[in-house]
């Protein structure tokens, strides 16, 4: 009997088993499309929007509260105040000390933390689903009734000074500070780091006042993702956030004008630095722009992955740097494309020439179908991997809500990527990649690189300080 079965199996296998050709990688089918779980949304009478995505893949619940405002809602002289406020939310309430908050979040099997982003404050919590009630209670407490103990504010201020001093030892940090200062010139988004003076201004009174002004249910979002059904979500939202009162939410940051300006090179002198850190870029397009996916693939071809032109040429072939890449960044009222690389001082000019050369090429002719195919595969694959966990899904939905993207943005993501062609990539390069209008920031030994940098601008090279001014 066994013999017979084996013999039959042999015949079947002989017919079915393909000869394996190890000499080249297998040809792949298209990626399966990714359909995110459906969501429901409603509004509480106090103006709080609630978004629910029931996702029962794991017995966990993730809850985020995002309120309007964030870093761009602060005055320029209060840089760092938003960051301090966000961190201090979990350092004390009317009922609990910092340690008691930490204990309680361990008891619901999760985590709790606050963050300031350019357009919003986000408080993130997660818990085992059977302990979610305790999480909602603590989340509500830290969002609505933080006490900002004076000792904790003082400790945060002291630590921020240390952190700023440590960060300034990194030329990439300095280059980033100056780059955003200049590319978003005069706009609230231009401030991305505190200064020594602004940290001094972080007092308990200012933190309390900012919280009172900005933490309001109107315009805020409560995002619930995970193992929780609509009835329980509705009850929790009502119980823990229904009586939350507040005034008008922070206004959106003003629109970032897509200024047409001549390329300007800024230089921060860092004597004896063996490397030059470059940040360069220009204002580009939001994710709801009809040509956004062309721009996304353009970025993939130019410098968005290991197989991109900048990485292959500047890193692999020329060996000017270990790290180079381009990326798209989004704020609510302005987006940009940005290239970042630290290069050896001796090759700074050659590297910058090569970077501008690649921009010229990608604007001048269609990328190859292989390059476009590879960029699309990388982008679809990375996108799918991000959706593996509740946190990944929650972050994607939060981004969509904060940036006010269409509700089907992620459902259409892979299909819209697929529709991109070499010709549409070149077109997007012509429109959105503006080498002659770029803001270029270099941090390095001025004595060695200033003359070289002067060749990249028709104007004089502009010197900047540690705060980008």
């Amino acid at each position: 009997m066994n013999t017979l079965l084996l013999a039959l199996a042999f015949v079947t296998s002989a017919a079915a088993a393909p000869t394996v050709d190890m000499s080249k990688p297998p040809v792949l089918g298209p990626m399966r499309s990714l359909k995110l779980p459906s969501r429901s949304e409603w509004k509480l009478p106090n103006g709080l929007s609630v978004v629910l995505v029931t996702d029962r893949r794991a017995p966990l619940v993730t809850a985020y509260v995002a309120v309007q405002g964030g870093e761009s809602a602060m005055h320029a002289e209060d840089a760092g105040l938003a960051e301090a406020l966000a961190e201090l939310l979990t350092d004390g309430t009317g009922n609990k000390t910092s340690k008691q908050i930490a204990d309680a979040s361990e008891f619901f099997g999760g985590s709790l933390s606050g963050e300031a982003t350019p357009d919003a404050f986000v408080v993130r919590a997660s818990a085992l689903s059977d302990k979610a009630e305790a999480m909602f209670s603590l989340l509500s407490e830290v969002v609505r009734a933080p006490s900002f103990p004076a000792a904790e504010v003082a400790l945060r201020r002291a630590n921020m000074k240390e952190e700023l001093a440590a960060a300034r030892a990194e030329s990439d940090f300095l280059a980033g500070v100056a780059f955003y200062k200049k590319v978003f010139a005069g706009h609230p988004y231009s401030v991305t780091a505190p200064t020594d003076d602004s940290i001094e201004r972080i007092t308990r009174d200012r933190v309390v006042a900012a919280h009172k002004r900005l933490f309001t249910p109107r315009g805020a979002v409560l995002l619930l993702v995970g193992d929780i059904d609509p009835a329980r979500a509705k009850a929790a939202a009502h119980k823990h956030f229904g009586s939350w009162k507040g005034g008008a939410p922070a206004a959106d940051a003003p629109p970032v004008p897509a200024l047409k300006r001549e390329r300007t090179v800024y230089l921060l002198d860092r004597p004896k630095s063996s490397q030059v850190s470059f940040f360069l870029g220009n204002i580009a397009a939001r994710e709801d722009n009809p040509a956004y996916f062309d721009l996304l693939v353009l970025n993939g071809v130019l410098g968005g992955s290991f197989s991109s032109r900048l990485v292959r040429d500047i890193r692999e072939t020329k060996g000017y740097t270990y790290s180079i890449g381009s990326r798209l960044e989004h704020r609510r009222t302005g987006s940009l494309i940005r290239i970042r690389t630290p290069v050896r001082t001796e090759v700074a000019g050659d590297a910058l020439s090569a970077i501008f050369g690649h921009m010229k090429d990608v604007r001048g002719s269609d990328p190859t179908p292989e390059e476009v195919g590879q960029a699309k595969a990388y982008l679809s694959g990375s996108f799918a991997r991000r959706m593996e966990t509740q946190e990944g899904l929650a972050e994607a939905i939060l981004h969509q809500k904060l940036l006010r993207l269409p509700a089907d943005f992620y459902d259409a993501y892979v299909d819209r990527l697929e529709a991109v062609s070499p010709a549409s990539v070149r077109k997007a390069a012509g429109v959105f990649l503006r080498p002659d209008e770029m803001t270029v920031v270099a941090v390095g030994d001025a004595a060695k690189i200033k003359d070289t940098l002067a060749k990249f601008t028709k104007k004089a090279v502009v010197s900047v300080g540690v705060d980008g001014d």
Partner: protein, 447 residues
């Protein structure tokens, strides 16, 4: 070649679905002995594929320390149809991710890719398992890379030598258990092309490998592909499993160490001869480790850092510092590492640790403590299983270390069933002060 493919396909056993409340999976074995676990989850089009190889630091022969880890590096240096660097590049071009790690009892490799790219991951793995390129240059080159890794992570890192070398080598007597996974420069330098080739032939045999594929896959199709790519690879024989028998502790000892890079003194302690995986005492000691060391509410954190304020940091638990609790395999350690203030003596720290251990051995934990530790343990367990890689890793560790992948699905309930009595008994039996080895680390790093 072709005949082997057919033979492999022929020997593929019917997948036997084994449902459980944890991770549903099926399994099959190729005719060359390679075992494969498959778990389907189509919620996103992503798949993780992982291999656990039954070779780690403990399998190394005297004079060959560091070979398992050196070999892990060689696995990324190219194979018959994949050039050096091609492995990472090809996977990344599909949005994939990959890495590997070497442990005392196994070596672990994984790739995470969009599910349509699974054939690429299988092809890459089969090419390196079946036809790895091992050249004199690549061996020499990777010896230097591994030495640099040792310099960075062990030799030039404060407390690196104590944690990754000395605690293990002084706690154990049997060389198989005592030598560090990172190896010694002398042994690494002595590695020849022939040594590396014979290590590969001995241990990277399909029947010494278990693979897990978790994600958006059709189990039948996976079976066909795995058979196609891995079926032709022949299994070879290997040395018998190492003798890891460890004599009983010889009594309390104190070892003095000096650390050139540390700025603060430290005190470590270890107990050897911990119980086997899967026993009640094993589960109890894992939870006790969490209660003593994990998070700001932990007993020793409270006692040493907050109340007496003698220490700046505490770490420890079952397996520590040689392995994590989940990869623990007897004979293992239960260890602690405390960095303390300069004006405090190691005797003060030692007395506080001894007090706390004695208290647990006498009375166990409070009910609230046990509850908090269990909740945190359960949530960490669930969180680790959210990803396909987390599930693949858990199934493979159970398959290799417990001898049964299903153990992964029984384990959490066993941890949740631990009683305060279990913890008290385990502490009394396994953490006797008379059997402890203490390590006084003097800071030689100055201000």
């Amino acid at each position: 070649m072709r005949t082997s493919v057919l033979a492999a396909a022929l020997a593929v056993l019917a997948a036997s679905p084994s449902r459980a409340e944890g991770v549903d999976f099926s399994s099959f074995t190729l005719s060359n002995g390679m075992r494969v676990l498959v778990s389907r989850d189509a919620s996103v089009p992503v798949v993780a594929t992982a291999m656990i190889v039954d070779v780690g630091g403990r399998h190394e022969a005297p004079g060959r320390s560091g070979f398992a880890h050196l070999f892990e590096h060689m696995m990324f240096e190219g194979s018959a149809h994949v050039p050096k660097g091609g492995f990472d590049r090809l996977l990344e071009s599909y949005g994939g991710d990959n890495n590997a790690s070497t442990h005392t009892d196994f070596t672990f490799y994984y790739e995470i890719v969009p599910s349509n790219a699974l054939p690429i991951a299988l092809w890459l793995d089969a090419d390196r398992i079946g036809a790895l390129s091992v050249t004199h240059e690549s061996v020499k080159n990777q010896i230097e890379v591994v030495k640099e890794e040792k310099r960075m992570r062990v030799d030039n890192e404060p407390y690196g030598s104590a944690l990754y070398v000395d605690v293990g080598s002084f706690s154990f007597v049997n060389w198989q258990n005592a030598h560090p996974v990172i190896g010694s420069f002398a042994d690494l330098d002595a590695a020849s092309l022939g040594d590396v080739k014979s290590f590969f032939e001995a241990y990277y045999s399909p029947d010494n490998i278990i693979m897990a594929i978790v994600g958006d896959v059709d189990p039948i199709e996976v079976q066909r592909q795995v058979a196609m790519y891995f079926g032709p690879i022949k299994s070879t024989s290997r040395p018998p499993a190492p003798d890891t028998m460890e004599p009983a502790p010889a009594g309390e000892r104190t070892i003095a160490l000096r650390d050139q890079h540390a700025k603060l003194p430290a005190l470590a302690v270890s107990w050897k001869g911990m119980p086997a995986r899967g026993t009640i005492a094993h589960h109890a000691l894992v939870l006790l480790g969490k209660a003593l060391f994990s998070g700001k509410s932990a007993r020793l954190y409270q006692s040493l850092v907050k109340v007496s304020q003698v220490a700046v940091s505490v770490d420890g638990g079952l397996g520590f510092p040689v392995s994590d609790w989940d990869e623990y395999k007897a004979p293992g350690l239960f260890g602690a590492f405390v960095v303390h203030k300069r004006e405090k003596t190691s005797l003060q720290v030692k007395a506080l640790i001894a007090d706390e251990i004695a208290r647990v051995a006498a009375a166990g934990l409070t009910p609230a403590e046990l509850e908090r530790v269990k909740v945190k343990f359960r949530s960490d367990w669930v969180r680790a299983q959210q990803t396909r890689l987390g599930r693949a890793s858990r199934l493979l560790q159970a398959a290799l270390l417990d001898g049964d992948a299903q153990a992964a699905n029984r384990e959490l309930d066993l941890f949740m069933a631990v009683t305060n009595d279990d913890i008290r008994r385990a502490a009394a039996a396994d953490l006797k002060l008379g059997a402890a080895t203490w390590f006084e680390v003097t800071a030689g790093g100055g201000e």
